[in-house]
């Protein structure tokens, strides 16, 4: 163990500070439990580490052996913390919460380095213990002992007791615990926040990245810790660092072999927090019912993408989740210039999500608001929207909510269809929406949808017709003072006449907006063929 400790600067080699050594930036009185204690609000690095499958092994051992195993785990969890001048805040048989801080007079705070270093040593120690456990035949059938750790530098409230113990609370503690869950969920050995790794000035090797949602709806960029970087001029043999790197790997692999073991009772249930591997979430750009929408940067680079995230715990209606998955799997196969690209579809622990092309130029609605669209462009938009619809209809998807807001503009002026049927449906949980939600106006709804009759791809053609009318004339075909009246117009009022300069398109309008879908174009391609015949 000793040789694994890198040469530490002498400042760090001091003993853990005694009570009262810490000068507070602010002194608060009264703890949350009502007792009066001195609480020091400071910046510190918190490490939270937990052994997994600890109790399985305890239960399989005899009483004496279990006791010595518990002692050994205690040593494994404690030694690395103390060696790096950390303080033990909370220790349980299978976990440790440790605080790494600096005195205010220290000119170069190095608690992030020490905290990350300790976490790496914790993993190394745990792997050695796990190997010893695995060698015993009576324990061989048990899931492997592994360790997960979360490390975060942030504000912490520390209160030191007369007996030398420290109690830690506050943001950094909560985040460190969340990062431990995150590490477990992502099958990383150590998860740390990107800021903590930065503060450790190159001491920790970074691996995969991700984002994790915090309760205040902000996001934290996270990094996997894959190794310790030697200090400049370090005399420690390079093999030591290789061994640490190997330990981090081995710990992960052992966990992967453990096939879906039942969670230990009382184990904290892992996250309902949002956790997306491979993306850095930039900001939230929308929220609707059960889906949240974020702008995110993929680890592999490229332009930002849109993440649509569906919470899995909210009791999706019936087979909604299955359909969400199936439809996006179909959509992901579509490579059509007029359909938004689906880059990825995946699950995290508590969420299903898709990564989609991002359209910074906004949608067709925004374009129409900006001013009239010239007739040639209007026809081009109509054709592109029809081509996009044709592509999704071909794989059996009906959009059901075709409107200018769902046609996105690219830089080159081309249009792409987005916000597909099920996505829409799952973002509006039908039974639970309510309580003042604004639904919008059914300007584009087909008569059969309004009446609850069977719906097929031709309902999208009706909506496309409404949009075509609006593109050509600058106004919607039906206006009414109430939604009810508007719906009745969709159901029974004739298709309004286009102005004279567009009269040649009246037949096209009639074939798009016919009340009876049998009278409409049979497909989007039929519309495109018709337009081609007209030389458009």
């Amino acid at each position: 163990m000793g040789q694994l400790l890198d040469d530490r600067p002498t400042a760090e080699a001091q003993l853990a500070p005694a009570v009262g050594d810490f000068v507070s930036s602010s002194l608060l009185t009264s703890g949350a439990d009502g007792s009066v204690a001195n609480v020091l609000s400071t910046v510190a690095t918190i490490v939270y580490a937990r052994m997994h499958h600890f109790s399985d092994i305890c239960n399989a051992l005899g009483a004496d052996e279990a006791a010595s195993f518990v002692n050994e785990v205690r040593r494994v969890l404690t030694d690395p913390v103390l060696k790096l001048n950390g303080e033990v805040a909370t220790r349980r048989p299978d976990s440790i919460l440790a605080v790494f801080s600096n005195k205010p007079e220290d000119r170069k705070p190095n608690h992030a380095q020490r905290g990350l270093h300790a976490a790496i040593l914790l993993v190394h120690e745990a792997v050695q213990l796990a190997q010893a456990v695995a060698q015993r035949s009576e324990l061989a059938h048990l899931p492997a002992l592994t360790l997960a750790a979360g490390v975060h530098l942030g504000s912490a409230d520390l209160s030191r007791r007369a007996n030398g113990k420290v109690h830690a609370a506050g943001e950094a503690v909560e985040v460190a615990r969340l990062l431990e869950l995150t590490a477990m969920d992502l099958n990383w050995s150590i998860a740390t926040s990107a800021g903590t790794r930065l503060a450790a000035v190159g001491r920790a090797e970074g691996g995969r990245i991700g984002s994790v949602g915090l309760p205040d709806n902000s996001f934290l960029d996270i990094v996997e810790v894959t190794g310790l970087v030697p200090r400049r001029g370090s005399r420690t043999p390079p093999q030591v660092f290789d061994r640490l790197r190997d330990a981090l790997q081995a710990n992960q692999h052992a966990r992967r072999r453990t096939v879906a073991a039942a969670p230990a009772p009382n184990a904290p249930t892992s996250g309902t927090h949002l956790l997306i591997e491979g993306y850095r979430v930039l900001r939230r750009i929308g929220e609707g019912g059960m889906a949240s929408i974020y702008l995110a940067q993929a680890a592999e680079g490229g332009p930002p993408q849109v993440l649509k995230v569906l919470r899995l715990d909210e009791g999706l209606e019936g087979d909604a989740l299955q359909r969400f998955i199936q439809e996006y799997a179909l959509l992901a196969q579509i490579h059509h210039p007029n359909v938004a690209r689906i880059h990825r579809q995946d699950f995290s622990v508590a969420h299903a999500y898709i990564a989609m092309e991002f359209f910074p130029n906004g949608d067709l609605r925004r374009r129409m608001r900006a001013g009239p669209v010239d007739p040639d462009t209007a026809i081009s938009y109509l054709k592109q929207a029809a081509a996009g619809l044709g592509a999704i209809h071909q794989v059996g998807i009906v959009h059901r909510d075709m409107k200018p807001d769902n046609l996105m503009l690219r830089h080159d002026g081309s249009l792409a269809l987005a916000d597909f049927g099920v996505a829409k449906q799952t973002s509006m949980k039908i039974t639970e929406t309510g309580d003042g939600d604004i639904v919008g106006t059914p300007y584009y709804l087909s008569p059969e949808q309004a009446l609850g009759k069977p719906v097929d791809a031709r309902c999208d053609l009706y909506s496309l017709g409404v949009m075509a009318y609006e593109l050509l004339t600058g106004r919607k075909p039906y206006h009414a003072s109430s939604a009810q009246e508007l719906l009745r117009m969709h159901v029974r009022d004739p298709v309004p006449l286009l102005p004279l300069d567009h009269a040649h398109l009246q037949a096209v309008m009639e074939s798009l907006m016919a009340k009876d879908h049998e009278q409409r174009y049979p497909s989007a391609q039929a519309l495109l063929d018709d337009l081609a015949r007209m030389g458009l």
Binding site: L28, S30, G31, A32, D33, V39, S41, T90, S155, D157, H167, A168, A169, G170, E171, V173, E174, L178, L214, P215, D216, P268, T269, G271, T272, H273, D313, R400, D401, G421, V422, K424, Q425, M428, I430, T431, E432, T433, G434, D435, G436, D437, I438, V439, G440, T441, P442, L445, Q449, A450, L451, G452, V455, S482, A483, Q484, L487, R488, V491
Partner: protein, 282 residues
């Protein structure tokens, strides 16, 4: 497990774990021992709790204190206090958390019965109990505005009990949220005039009871669709669906409860009870 947090953001951080299964940290409400979380809504949570003074199990509805919503709900339930109204035991505030203690109804809600399917006769008996509860509100010139199976709970005796008075308003009152196009209530049960932003009337509850009746008779709501707009549009313009032949005699009742126009609908829950007594449950 969870350390006490003295930072001001403590509540937000604690909420981090609140949605977690079994890991929700129980708030402390003096006089009650919180046993387990039994429900979670948009704004409120429900906990099964032991009422030390009353020596009974109760359900505590918890939501952030401040707007007096729970006090109001308590007062309404107190005024109603009938056989088919949930019993309330008290309400108060503690450390920023409002609470309302009410009768624990272990029988679940009406949705469970709908899932099992019921005969027409059973459905009418259940409708009568629901209408009796709603009629109590209507007699006080109040409108429930959120009648649905989830708010109709079952006592161990099988008796139906109306709960959740969070959306109750005086009849004829305009709600700031009730603007055209805004859904107040639950989309599947919402009356057309509520969608149009009209003032709440007892007839809106009759419509919701009609949706409920259809669900009990047929196992599905009268209007469904893939998108919210499809569902709401049908409430506005689609005629009530035809009942299957074996229960076709109930069509006039469904039609008069699900009429689009208020003037063609049974005006309140007492009118529903009257018609039931006169024609079907004599």
């Amino acid at each position: 497990m969870v350390p006490h947090t003295s930072a001001p953001a403590a509540a937000a951080w604690r909420a981090l774990r609140a949605p977690g299964l079994g890991s929700a940290s129980a708030p402390s409400i003096p006089g009650f021992r919180l046993l387990r979380q039994v429900g979670r809504g948009r704004h409120a949570a429900a906990w099964l709790a032991w009422d030390a003074a009353g020596e009974r199990e109760v359900v505590l509805k918890l939501q952030p204190a401040g707007d007096g919503a729970l006090m109001r709900e308590y007062a309404i339930a107190q005024r109603l206090a009938g056989a088919h109204i949930v019993q309330v035991h008290g309400c108060g505030e503690s450390a920023g958390c409002g609470w309302l203690a009410m009768e624990h109804l272990p029988g679940g809600n009406l949705r469970r019965l709908i899932g099992q399917g019921s005969t027409a006769a059973e459905a009418l008996l259940l409708l009568r109990q629901a209408a009796e509860a709603v009629a109590q509100l209507h007699r006080l010139q109040l409108v429930h505005r959120d009648v649905k199976p989830d708010n109709l709970l079952l006592r161990a005796s099988g008796e139906l009990v109306l709960a959740d008075f969070g959306l109750v308003t005086p009849a004829g009152a305009l709600d700031a949220r009730a603007q055209p196009g805004a859904v107040v209530g639950t989309p599947r049960y919402v009356a057309p005039e509520q969608l149009a932003g009209a003032a709440a009337t007892p007839a809106a509850d009759v419509y919701s009871l009609g949706v409920l009746l259809h669900e009990m008779l047929c196992g599905c709501p009268p209007f469904s669709g893939e998108t919210l707009m499809e569902v709401l549009s049908q409430h506005l313009v689609a005629p009530p669906p035809r009942l299957p032949a074996d229960i076709a005699p109930l069509q006039p009742l469904i039609d008069r409860m699900l009429a689009k126009e208020v003037k063609e609908r049974l005006p309140d829950a007492d009118a529903v009870l009257g018609l039931l007594a006169q024609r079907w449950l004599t």
